[in-house]
């Protein structure tokens, strides 16, 4: 509680639950201003975008000549990575190895969607299964730390295994479903601190973990942004930024062509993320990630502010669902409901309460932006 009066952005639905938010004289927030100033002018989904798209595809194909695959594509079963898989394979004619990380929380829809796409597109799949006992212990460590970003273990594992695999197999291109269309406005660091910060992860583990991390994959921002990308030439490509990506149309296409099963909300392909974003983060901290997601859709013209405000009035889950998901997560983590409730009620901490590489991110982000390697970015 900062004592700051409540304010809602005049054009999107971000508000002062993001403590770092600033507003201009018209009441427009810095998220919107960053989008219009830094992202939109460089974001082309028309003929120019198509040309860049095809040039990129040609480079990827050239790098993969004579190899079984020319790129790897990180696949969660969610809408972004699913649509990406379709675009990359059918529209660009690439030969991706589909890469999936199983952290133990896959929903049935996610597994079904991966299966349908891989089968119908005739692609190869590689799954990295994270050791569940280590994952569970690390997730519990995050609960015990009291910080908001308790989904870091899943995200961190995802990125580090994918980069490691690309490096080991000499694959130069990693395709991700990250996109401006639905993600131009990002979660504030206060809500979700950088999941790639391995110093933070290790400090939380050191203080609250009960078993060593032997097989759990870790990476570091220096490693994957600097070493792998700049020195070893592994390029991360975001194809969805080169084509018009309208979420509702993408879903309809996938449902019709592949028997794809939609999710009630973004990121619900993981049962844990569903619990985290749909209940834990809003109920414990007052951070509703739907504000971020809807705001992205508003500035990109896919949702009206009125519709967003109406939807934000009801919580993502009704009480019965909350009780069921709470019981499920507790049971899966091997703790009692009372213990989980205890973590829910404990004093709140932030990422600043633990060691981090925040300085490196603060130094690196402007450089990445200057080099054109990133636009917007998290703050």
């Amino acid at each position: 509680m900062t004592g700051r009066p409540y304010q809602l952005c005049a054009t999107c639905v971000m508000d002062t639950s993001d403590a770092a938010i600033t507003f201009d004289a018209e009441g427009v927030c810095d998220h919107c201003r960053t989008f219009h100033r830094d992202i939109k002018p460089h974001w082309h989904t028309d003929a120019r975008g198509r040309r860049e798209f095809e040039e990129m595809a040609a480079r990827i194909k050239a790098s993969g000549k004579g190899k079984p695959h020319d790129c790897i594509l990180g696949m969660s079963g969610g809408i972004d990575s699913s649509y990406l898989l379709y675009v990359a394979t059918v529209e660009l004619g690439l030969r991706p190895l589909v890469f999936h990380v199983d952290a133990g929380w896959n929903s049935q829809e996610a597994v079904n969607n991966i299966e349908k796409l891989v089968d119908k597109l005739g692609l190869d799949l590689y799954t990295e299964v994270i050791n569940w006992e280590e994952m569970r212990d690390l997730q519990l460590a995050y609960f015990k730390s009291g910080v908001p970003h308790i989904d870091s273990p899943q995200d961190h594992a995802f990125f580090s295994t994918m980069y490691k695999f690309a490096e080991e197999h000499g694959i130069k291109y990693i395709l991700t479903g990250a996109n401006y269309s639905t993600e131009c406005i990002r979660n504030p660091l206060q809500w979700m601190y950088f999941q790639s910060d391995s110093i933070q992860l290790r400090d939380i583990h050191r203080q609250f973990g009960t078993r060593p991390l032997t097989t759990f994959p870790t990476t570091s921002i220096l490693r994957h942004k600097v070493y792998l990308q700049i020195l070893k030439g592994i390029t991360v490509v975001r194809p969805l930024n080169y084509v018009p990506y309208i979420k509702t149309e993408a879903v309809a296409l996938l449902v019709e062509k592949f028997g794809w099963q939609p999710y009630p909300q973004k990121h619900f392909e993981s049962r844990f993320t569903k619990f985290y974003e749909g209940y834990w983060l809003p109920a414990r901290f007052g951070y509703d990630v739907r504000r971020v997601q809807f705001s992205s859709l508003i500035v990109t013209g896919q949702m009206t502010r009125e519709e967003a405000l109406t939807r934000l009035q009801t919580p993502p889950f009704d009480e019965l669902t909350v009780a069921q998901e709470f019981a499920f997560v507790a049971s899966k983590l091997g703790i009692t409901i009372e213990e989980l409730r205890g973590y829910f009620e404990m004093p709140k901490r932030t990422y600043k309460d633990f060691r981090s590489q925040e300085q490196i991110y603060a130094l690196g982000a402007p450089i990445m932006r200057m080099l054109g390697l990133e636009r917007g970015g998290k703050r």
């Binding site: 133990g104 929380w105 597994v111 299966e115 190869d124 799949l125 299964v129 569940w132 006992e133």
Partner: protein, 256 residues
């Protein structure tokens, strides 16, 4: 009409799900509870879970694990691993498990099968026979395929059925993890010898293998491990199971 059963068969080793090849080289597959959850949503016919550590380490069944599996599992569940007494049958059934599987202990003492059936009913007593091809027939093995019993598989199957077993699971060690098809000779031999419900495990690599089994033997249980857990040339872990319409098509060709 009674349908043939299509059964995912899961192995637990060190609390985690694994898949073996010829009963060796266990590959880590993930958390058992999440696998059960996904199978629930796929509305699986029934599920078998075997703890492959208990018997070789001489440990009793892990009741905590069994209780968690039973609490999550929305379809009929068969549990096996470390079962040596009829009291354990009763204990496991009262945790909410429909069927209890036994192997080494029943082979050593068929009376266990009879006593267990008197308590929990024959329908809940399953005997698993792990077998390897041997000169002129098949030999029964125990302790994860490491101990040769010298007993003939078909003869042992008969003995277990006579003792009151409600179901026999015939597990072909040579085919385990190979995904090249069921051992047809073995199935035919056991099917001809006993009338109790049979479930065949070991070697299933495709739904076509199951369709073949149903075509040849009618109402029989088709179990598979690798098929429902792996996908593709890299054996990528991905839980899968045919949708209801596909299943109905599969069993439609079953000989009555």
């Amino acid at each position: 009409m009674l349908r043939p059963r299509i059964i995912p068969s899961l192995l637990i080793h060190n609390q985690g799900l694994v898949k073996t090849t010829a009963f060796a080289a266990p590959k880590y597959v993930g958390d058992p509870i999440n696998a059960v959850r996904i199978f629930n949503d796929k509305e699986v016919d029934e599920l078998s879970v075997f703890d492959i550590d208990a018997t070789v380490t001489g440990r009793p069944p892990d009741y905590g694990l069994i209780q968690r599996l039973a609490a999550e599992c929305r379809m009929p569940l068969c549990y096996g691993g470390g079962v040596t007494t009829e009291a354990q049958f009763g204990e496991i059934v009262s945790l909410g498990v429909e069927k209890v599987a036994v192997s080494a202990a029943a082979i050593a003492d068929p009376g266990l099968v009879t006593r267990a059936a008197a308590m929990v009913g024959g329908q809940s007593v399953v005997v698993v026979l792990d077998v390897k091809r041997r000169q002129g027939g098949y030999e029964v093995f125990t302790h994860n395929g490491r101990t040769a019993t010298g007993l003939d598989a078909v003869e042992t199957a008969r003995r277990m059925a006579d003792a009151g077993a409600g179901e026999l699971v015939i597990n072909a060690i040579d085919q385990d993890g190979a995904m090249q098809g069921y051992d047809q000779t073995l199935v035919a031999a056991v099917r001809a010898a006993v009338t109790v419900p049979l479930t065949i495990l070991g070697g299933c690599g495709s739904l076509a293998h199951m369709a073949g089994l149903f075509r040849d033997h009618g109402t029989i249980g088709a179990a598979a491990g690798s098929l429902f857990v792996f996908k593709g040339v890299y054996r990528a872990v991905l839980i899968n199971y045919p949708a209801r319409a596909d299943r109905d098509a599969l069993v439609a060709g079953a000989r009555s």
